[in-house]
């Protein structure tokens, strides 16, 4: 692991300077106390930060940033660390800045339908706090019980309902950020747009590289009058995948449209007893929401459509309890699959929906050639795949094989016109695949954007945007973590 800073930071001097800003209990610098901060939700990558700090006021974040700016110390921001791409992986010579103590909902405005929150507030807590007003916050990543809104902004998190209700970028209005130089800025505003460039969009999904989010104004939506979920079983993955396009072609935008393959179905069923048909090769979960009349009309239409597409069975949740159970199976699919394997690796590519069936077939072939089981659970409505690669890191070489297989899956997504990441971010994990998705000129443009906001390269350096050297090495020689396409274990030449 190398960073952009060649000289190592004087830890003693740094800690002494931080003590001027923060109370002693907000500065963590001993090895055992730092241990919990060494990784995020992608534990394959671990690194101990030099120091971790837990400020609780915006001025403290500004002071920490000013100090680090002055000393040339890189800073990695961290929310709940549920991220799956190593975006909050610390730097050995850097400060890890935890926003965990920024956990207050500052204001709820029922007239303008907004909530002003601190970054450490959990995603689900927002919806819970406004439920009595008949409102909710739409983006709902699977980790919504644990993940924080600040992290959601950094990753532009999506979730199950984003085909209809959008991603984080569509559901926030304003951000307060601390810049690399420690300045407090506001982008966006209380109105639906702001003067000047759309910095709100630029900041969202920038993975902590352009600023540190310290306050968020989120938009709240009225809770739908009714939501109804259908479960359709298929005897082939292709048929299930093709049905997705047909529902959309019929003019229906489902609130959620999720797919699981046979392996994932059986794992989820064994884990939470959702009532899934365990002999199916694929299931689709289709949720339609809206007014009572509209939902009834759409449920009938979707049911007929799924049967016409060759579904072997279509069930409609009879009551709220069954609806929740159907979703529970989907939402616990990751841990359910995780129970069956010592380790698993979750991917996050997106593809145009019409290529779904083809990509799933491709993943199946790759899975066989790498001799690693892959379970497929994904947001079928928006073509966002989450293949779960099962492996055992105790078997020599198996982690590397899993990583190579993951790399090939992502490169397959790019090849069919998709992206290497739909909602988990590039982080540390997908740096090499950025070289596949973007041209050298495009990567250089990203670097120029980074310099425009962080000229000294102190915010989460080394993530997201690879250096030119990384790309040329990746394409020709391979690297420490990944070997080039032609030399991969299961590689096809």
């Amino acid at each position: 692991m190398n960073t952009m800073n060649e000289q190592s930071t004087d830890k003693t001097a740094l800690v002494a300077a931080l003590r001027e800003i923060l109370p002693p209990e907000s500065i963590i610098h001993t090895e055992e106390e730092l241990r919990p901060y060494e990784c995020d939700g992608l534990p394959a990558y671990r690194l101990m930060p030099l120091v971790a700090v837990l400020p609780e006021r915006v001025e403290q974040v500004q002071q920490v940033m000013r100090l680090c700016h002055q000393m040339g110390v890189p800073v990695v921001a961290r929310g709940a660390a549920t991220g799956l791409s190593g975006g909050a992986l610390p730097l050995a010579d850097g400060v890890l800045l935890s926003l965990a103590r920024f956990n207050r909902i500052i204001d709820i405005d029922n007239v303008n339908r907004t909530a002003r929150v601190q970054p450490g507030v959990r995603n689900l807590a927002i919806s819970q706090a406004v439920a009595a007003l008949g409102l909710y916050y739409a983006p709902d990543p699977s980790s919504q019980i644990a993940c924080t809104i600040g992290g959601n902004v950094a990753e532009n998190a999506g979730g199950v309902h984003c085909l209809k209700y959008g991603l984080t970028v569509h559901n926030i209005l304003e951000l307060k950020l601390v810049t690399a130089a420690g300045e407090l800025i506001t982008v966006g505003g209380e109105s639906l747009d702001a003067a000047g460039y759309d910095l709100l969009a630029l900041m969202t999904g920038s993975e902590g590289m352009l600023g540190i989010v310290v306050e968020i104004l989120v938009r709240l939506l009225p809770s739908p009058e009714r939501a109804q979920v259908l479960l359709a079983a298929f005897d082939s993955v292709e048929r299930a995948a093709n049905s997705v396009g047909e529902i959309i072609a019929a003019g229906i935008i489902p609130a959620g449209l999720e797919m699981m393959d046979g392996f994932a179905i059986r794992a989820a069923e064994a884990f939470v007893h959702a009532g899934y048909p365990t002999d199916a090769q694929a299931i689709l979960l289709c949720e339609v929401d809206g007014g009572n009349e509209e939902v009834s009309a759409h449920v009938n239409q979707v049911r007929q459509l799924l049967l016409d597409q060759g579904a072997t069975e279509v069930r409609t949740a009879r009551d709220e309890a069954e609806r929740v159970r159907f979703w529970k199976g989907r939402k616990s699919a990751f841990p359910a699959v995780g129970r069956l394997s010592p380790d698993y690796y979750c991917m996050d590519g997106t593809v145009p929906r019409r290529r779904l069936a083809e990509v799933l077939t491709g993943i199946g072939e790759l899975s066989r050639s790498y001799e690693l089981q892959v379970a497929n659970v994904f947001h079928a409505g928006d073509g966002n795949l989450h293949p779960l690669i099962l492996f055992d890191s105790n078997n020599p070489g198996e982690l590397k094989r899993a990583e190579d297989l993951g790399a090939e899956i992502l490169e397959l997504c790019v090849k069919v016109g998709g992206s290497i990441t739909g909602e988990h971010g590039v982080g540390h994990e997908k740096l090499h695949q950025m070289c596949v998705q973007f041209s050298p000129a495009e990567l250089e443009q990203f670097r120029a954007v980074k310099r425009a906001l962080d000229p000294r390269g102190l915010l989460n350096p080394g993530k997201v945007i690879p250096q030119p050297r990384h790309c040329s090495e990746y394409k020709s020689l391979g690297t420490d973590t990944l070997i080039p396409p032609q030399q991969r274990v299961g590689g096809r030449g």
Partner: protein, 356 residues
């Protein structure tokens, strides 16, 4: 005229490269329907109008990719044939308005508060930066968080960061039915009612107030529209579509003036603004049109105090500030970003703000 596509792209690329070498400012335009917008255009004209045509349209994917010079009328026709639409309901301000100009201005119509803005539907762009490099960001997929969101950054940047070549947009099915309902109300009450309905699960797709009457549009299945109607009340407006089009295109009587027209972007629940002149409320309270000769500073102060920002949309002094002045740290970020994309400052210099 040559065939649109690689040839017209090369022409644009060569023009930008030459302009960069000669430090020649360029005024980027499509059909020129929005030349009235922003500060006075300067530079040699670079037209994207010949670079037109739909590149890819997949109705089942809800995605269309079209060249910047594609007229909106052509897009409407192509999408309409498949029962789909641009859900941000873009204003045209001219019969030949292009997609590129629409996105560069970031204009959205009456549906905006309920369905989203132009920026919400942009999935990807192909563009030329100030070095004349062809770059592609985003793509044709619904979700894409690889790298910074440069595509959305282009929306509303008024061409100051690059020349748009192609734009990929999410499209949506056109509603099965629409109905506009009218009722007479006082302005205070109208703002209240618009916000009250927006907080309820209703198929609302537009809400405006002309000073006397509140107009609400419902869109969806026949059942949803009639159920919504029984809740919101009011009398059906026979040609509702014509009303919304006239509002979107600023062709109704309110806009028939030579005096300065201001666009006030407000929190939707902001009270009636105490400003001289007359007002028309759109976007369920979030966009207020003001025709007023009042001093720009006094308008901006009132608007800012209520959490909004003010744009001098038409008329008035085009050499002065058209957009709400930015605080100093944001000016610096804007200038740095401008430099990152257009180091020779050739694209629409000064069109957005005098500083860059």
């Amino acid at each position: 005229m040559s065939v649109a596509g690689p040839e017209t792209e090369q022409v644009l690329q060569a023009a930008v490269q030459q302009a960069q070498e000669q430090r020649q400012p360029l005024e980027i335009l499509g059909s020129g329907s929005k030349r009235f917008y922003g500060r006075t255009p300067v530079g040699e004209q670079l037209s994207t109008a010949a670079h037109r045509g739909v590149v890819n349209y997949e109705p089942k994917e809800l995605v269309v990719t079209a060249r910047a010079g594609t007229p909106l009328t052509e897009l409407d026709r192509v999408l309409g044939e498949q029962g789909q639409m641009l859900a941000f309901e873009p204003p045209r301000f001219g019969p030949d308005a292009t997609l590129g100009g629409t996105i560069a201005c970031g204009f959205s119509g009456p549906r905006r508060p309920y369905m989203g803005a132009a920026r919400d539907f942009v999935l990807g762009v192909r563009m030329l930066n100030g070095r004349g490099e062809v770059l592609r960001f985003g793509g044709e997929v619904m979700k894409n968080v690889a790298g910074y969101d440069v595509s959305r950054l282009m929306v509303g940047a008024l061409g100051t960061l690059g020349v748009l070549l192609e734009i990929s947009l999410k499209v949506l099915p056109a509603p099965e039915q629409e109905q506009t309902l009218v009722q007479e109300l006082g302005s205070l009450q109208a703002i209240q009612v618009m916000n009250q309905w927006a907080a309820r699960p209703l198929p609302l797709s537009a809400a405006a107030y002309d000073g006397m009457r509140l107009y609400l549009r419902l869109s969806g299945t026949a059942g949803a529209v009639s159920a919504g109607r029984s809740q919101v009340g009011g009398d059906p407006l026979p040609d509702g579509e014509a009303f919304w089009q006239a509002l979107r295109e600023q062709r109704n009587a309110f806009f028939d003036h030579q005096r300065p027209l201001w666009r006030l972007s407000m929190p939707p629940g902001a009270p009636v603004l105490d400003l001289p002149g007359k007002q028309f409320i759109d976007w369920g309270g979030a966009q207020r049109w003001l025709i007023s000769d009042a001093a720009p500073e006094s308008i901006r102060l009132v608007v800012q105090q209520q959490g909004g920002h003010a744009t001098l949309f038409r008329g008035g002094d085009r050499a002065g500030e058209r957009f709400h002045p930015l605080p100093p740290p944001l000016v610096e970020i804007h200038r740095n970003l401008k430099h990152a994309f257009d180091p020779s400052n050739i694209f629409n210099p000064g069109r957005l703000y005098p500083e860059f």
